[in-house]
């Protein structure tokens, strides 16, 4: 066991400027590529060893699939199965755990939902995250609201609260003010069709052609046209589009860029509307809550290879990985909760044309003590103005201990400054030690106080982390076509919204579940009231 004495002694012995990384323990993991690539082989041809029947088959156990399953279970539907390729459901919202803490492998927070995100609010109320209502606003469980301080940025050698450097030239300040004023106007804007200019789910956004036209150009082009080019604003916006979409501002649609800033109108009775909900496991908490509700219905380790309409129903051919058997599932309806690039391999007639994906690397760093630093105290989200990483969140931030002990820091980066294909090659080529060194050096630049305190670095590679909302993606046709369902097959995935966020995945999953129930004549009450 480490004593405090040895903890104190360690940094004193480390020579500044040198890092004795040696062989740091850790793992290199990611989506199971071998299983994924089974889809490209003709293994599914031939006679299935077993045929099963279910009323509704859900294919894919990310948040969209889990939301569909949760919605079915809540409506009282019992005859459904969820098939997941990996050993556990959750998709991007999966979590890990070690002796110190649970920690996210990907998605790690949910903003306080907008009033129009009625399905998400309903879900949060069902799992106890919303504990009641006051004056028409939801009351959130205070232990799940991000604890103060929420975020800080390292700028010119000093940490400060917030994500935008405070000490900047006047021209930068003027640009920031003008930009955020414009975002406020978009946020408050309602168009003649009675819709919000930008809404969550995005499907409820205004259809006004002037607003849709924003999708035709890049965010950078839109900013250029307004003359907003000072470095502080551009650096912040680059951080935001990379953080939200894994993509450079020049490569995202202006509609996506503005949606990020203008779509959030969260309401809460007991915290700020722009707060977020977070947990040690990140959104693994939400995925686990859904998975618990539908525990008996989830079948992990099933690689679905082909889905086609057969008679009035759906025929699904799959491989059961555990006993390497071909199985066939006959369902009255199927919910395709797969990312589009997978669906294109699986579903007859589906295409992934126009769908690109950003690659991410997430590292969970176990440390003996909390990071410190000059200036603002440790926050939940910690970002450096000079680093190309997206910083780290602290998995133990929501803990209640009066004297903090060891911690897990979840470090993120989007490999956005190269083509996604190059990034994926890099991901498969680089050994664990290389990633660990990158993470370690980046952390040391932000928090030299962590010298000698890092115990292990576990790296997770997401080759296809997020759909890339490139110009033209939202309203150029491909996304809208993909979003259309052809019963008995119902499409459900955040890809169909072009925004890789929990709310969109939940919306797509729950609406697909409701559409499937309607199709099958199963009486239910919609969770979507907006």
């Amino acid at each position: 066991m480490l004593t405090r004495r040895s903890l104190l002694a360690t940094p004193a012995l480390a020579v500044p400027g040198c890092s004795f990384l040696g062989a740091l323990p850790g793992t290199l993991s990611g989506a199971d590529m071998a299983r994924g690539h089974l889809l490209r082989t003709p293994f599914a041809a031939g006679t299935p060893a077993e045929t099963r029947r279910t009323k509704i088959a859900i294919i894919g156990g990310g948040i969209a699939g889990l939301s569909a399953a949760f919605t079915l279970a809540e409506a009282g539907h019992r005859d459904f199965r969820l098939f997941e390729l990996e050993d556990s459901a959750g998709g991007n919202s999966r979590a890990g755990r070690n002796a110190v803490s649970a920690y996210p492998l990907g998605a790690h927070y949910l903003p306080i939902p907008n009033p129009e995100s009625s399905g998400v609010r309903h879900f949060l109320e069902r799992i106890g995250t919303i504990t009641g209502w006051q004056g028409g606003k939801p009351v959130f469980d205070p232990y799940q609201i991000v604890a103060d301080p929420e975020e800080r940025i390292l700028h010119l050698g000093r940490w400060q609260e917030g994500l935008i450097p405070a000490i900047v030239p006047d021209a930068d300040r003027a640009d920031l003010a003008a930009f955020f004023a414009a975002m406020d106007r978009f946020r408050d804007h309602k168009t003649s069709d009675g819709r919000r200019a930008f809404a969550i789910p995005m499907d409820l956004s205004s259809r006004d052609p002037d607003l849709r036209a924003l999708d035709a150009l890049s965010f950078t082009a839109w900013l250029d046209a307004r003359g907003w080019s000072t470095p502080t604003l551009r650096a912040h916006l680059r951080y935001c589009t990379r953080d939200e979409y894994g993509t450079e501002p020049g490569e995202v649609s202006a509609w996506a860029g503005i949606h990020y800033f203008a779509a959030r109108r969260g309401e809460a009775a007991n915290c700020a509307g722009d707060a977020v909900l977070t947990w040690p496991a990140g959104n693994g908490y939400l995925a686990a809550a859904m998975a618990r509700r539908v525990a008996g219905h989830i079948e992990p380790g099933i690689v679905v290879a082909a889905v086609r309409t057969s008679g009035d129903g759906a025929q699904i051919d799959a491989l059961d990985v555990a006993n390497r058997r071909r199985i066939r599932i006959l369902a009255d309806a199927a919910i395709i909760a797969l990312p589009r690039f997978v669906a294109a391999h699986v579903v007859a007639g589906a295409s992934a044309k126009g769908f690109g994906y950003s690659p991410w690397v997430v590292a969970n760093v176990t440390a003996d003590r909390l990071p410190a630093g000059q200036g603002a105290k440790l926050a939940w989200d910690n970002v450096s103005a000079t680093s190309d990483s997206l910083g780290y969140v602290v998995a133990t931030h929501q803990g209640l201990a009066a004297v903090p002990g060891p911690t897990v820091l979840t470090w993120y980066t989007a490999l956005s400054d190269m083509t996604p294909a190059t990034a994926r090659t890099l991901m498969t080529d680089r050994p664990l030690a290389d990633w660990q060194r990158i993470v370690h050096d980046d952390l040391m630049a932000m928090n030299p106080d962590l010298a000698g305190a890092i115990r292990r670095i576990d790296v997770w590679r997401w080759g296809h982390a997020m759909v890339r909302p490139v110009p033209g993606f939202f309203f150029g046709g491909a996304r809208e076509n993909a979003a259309k369902s052809a019963p008995p097959l119902f499409n459900a995935h955040s890809d169909l919204s072009g925004l890789s966020i929990f709310e969109e995945a939940h919306f797509r999953g729950s609406t697909a579940a409701e559409a499937a129930m309607t199709h099958l004549g199963f009486a239910h009450v919609s969770v979507h009231t907006a």
Binding site: T3, R4, R5, L8, A9, P11, A12, V15, P16, P142, Y143, I145, V146, A147, D148, P149, E150, N270, C271, A272, A275, K377, L378, L400, A401, A402, V403, P404, G405
Partner: protein, 507 residues
């Protein structure tokens, strides 16, 4: 030196300058050890006097030992310089770091003083012998001693006026270590007969690099050795996984510091603990079950035990080392009247927030004596979420009291605690008391219903009387209630107010 080449006379000024440097360094190490000893052990007259005595005695040993150097004076001198640079240069850092890691600090202190003194004692005799062929004897003694004493003057002026205030002890040590090794390297560089001393050259360069590294990590070393802050002699210091516990004592004044923050002074702690406990306990008819959160020193428990009707006290304190210390150390157990050995007392070593969330019991009285909200982790113990759990733990008709910082220094912080308790559905009444070592201090009573005026105090109190206990509820305008926000996990309004108000006082 038989092989003194022509022109060696030109080197005499360099050697004499090194006498100056060497003398300055020697005195600086002596002053460092004396200052450190009085910082860490208190009683500066004794410390300075014994350190100087030991140091001078050790210099005598060094001077005496110089007779055994029969050849190669230059090599021995250079080696001595390098050793002094390494040991003397890092002495301040070493002593700071060793302070809380050794049983008896005097051992490394006087050990280092002896070693450094001995080495310094070697310097001047050796230097004089190196110079003896270059100068007349009378001239030699006069010049060397002149530079020696000038160096001493320089050190004694520089040390208090420039070095300590601007560089601090640790950096000063490393800097003068560099001067020592600089002399060694300069000699190796300039003296022709030194060209064979390759090993010494390498060692000198290594030591110089290490000292430069030390110079730049001085801040980190200083952080690791915060004990320099105590004004009275330390009688016990221990680091637990949760905190650093330091006890100091000057005459009859025993003080407890947790992480450098004063928790009590034995001279006036009765004021604090009487004010903490009796306004609450004195307001309930039959205080049978009492919960104490924090208060591992057992002083609040001592006051609670003055009520014979109390059947059980549950004391929740995070740190087993703390409760053990105040149970077992005779002097401390005497201070709390052996309260922690009372059969009525159950000690639970747990994190109070976590324990309270899981707790299902209700208590007639709850004493909440957490550390001040100096950081965001402790700030969580003062939030609406904790007070909701606290409200669950107060039995009907029961009462809680919360120590809530100074209403005079930090009125916004103080009243934030009241506002937050009220937001948890509790009725509150604030009061204050003067505790000399803390200043004007504040407490808040909280209960499910109205809080009575009448209070029945146990006999034998030294501070509270029915009259002063009633006056304590009166707040003059400078401490009067003001509108404050509710302290929540997601806004930490209290830590921010506390920090802003206390930093105005403490700078």
């Amino acid at each position: 030196m038989a092989d003194a080449p022509t022109g060696a006379r030109d080197l005499a000024p360099v050697l004499l300058f090194s006498a100056f440097v060497v003398a300055t360094c020697g005195l600086v190490y002596e002053l460092l050890a004396g200052t450190l000893a009085s910082y860490l052990l208190g009683d500066s007259v004794t410390q300075f006097s014994t350190v100087i005595g030991t140091y001078l005695f050790a210099m005598g040993i060094g001077a005496w030992l110089s007779r055994y150097v029969t050849a190669n004076e230059l090599a021995v001198f250079v080696r001595t310089e390098i050793l002094i640079a390494a040991i003397g240069g890092s002495s301040a850092a070493l002593l700071f770091l060793l302070f809380d890691r050794v049983g008896d600090f005097r051992l490394p202190l006087y050990g280092l003083v002896l070693i450094i003194g001995t080495l310094v004692g070697l310097e001047i005799p050796l230097l004089m012998r190196i110079l003896k062929d270059r100068l007349e004897f009378g001239d030699l003694v006069s010049k060397v001693l002149t530079f020696d004493y000038i160096g001493a003057l320089a050190a004694s002026l520089l040390f208090p006026l420039v070095l300590v205030p601007h560089l601090g002890l640790i950096r000063t040590g490393f800097l003068f270590g560099l001067a020592n090794v600089g002399v060694a390297l300069a000699m190796l560089w300039m003296l022709p007969q030194a060209s064979r001393l390759r090993g010494e050259m390498a060692a000198g360069i290594l030591v110089a690099i290490a000292l430069v590294a030390g110079l730049f990590s001085a801040e980190r070393l200083q952080r690791l050795a915060e004990v320099a802050a105590y004004q009275a002699p330390i009688i016990h210091a221990v680091s637990t996984p949760y905190q650093r516990i330091v006890l100091t004592r000057r005459n009859d004044d025993v003080r407890l510091f947790l992480n450098g923050n004063l928790q009590f002074s034995s001279r006036d702690e009765y004021r604090y603990h009487e004010a903490l406990v009796h306004p609450a306990l004195g307001r309930i008819a039959h205080p049978a079950n009492v919960l104490i959160l924090g208060g591992g020193d057992g002083l609040a428990a001592r006051e609670v035990l003055k009520y014979p009707g109390v059947r059980s006290i549950t004391l929740v304190d995070l740190d087993p080392a703390m409760t053990r210390l105040f149970t077992d150390a005779p002097m401390l157990a005497a201070l709390n009247g052996n309260a922690l050995r009372s059969p009525k007392l159950i000690i639970v070593n747990a994190d109070a927030f976590v324990w309270l969330r899981a707790n299902q019991r209700r208590f007639g009285a709850v004493i909440v004596d957490f550390p001040d909200p100096t950081n965001f982790s402790i700030g969580k113990l003062y939030t609406l979420s904790l007070y909701r759990e606290l409200a669950r733990a107060i039995a009907p008709g029961g009462i809680a009291v919360v120590q809530s910082t100074s209403p005079l220094v930090a009125p916004n912080a103080y009243w934030t605690v009241a506002t937050t308790l009220e937001a948890a559905g509790l009725t509150t009444r604030g009061y204050h008391a003067y505790v000399p070592s803390f200043g004007e201090w504040g407490f808040i009573l909280a209960a499910h219903g109205a809080i009575a005026d009448a209070v029945a105090l146990p006999p034998g109190l030294r501070f509270l009387t029915p009259r002063t206990a009633a006056l304590a509820f009166d707040f003059p305008p400078d401490m009067a209630r003001r509108p404050t926000p509710v302290n929540r996990l997601d806004n930490q309004a209290l830590v921010r107010a506390f920090d802003a108000e206390w930093s105005r006082v403490e700078g």
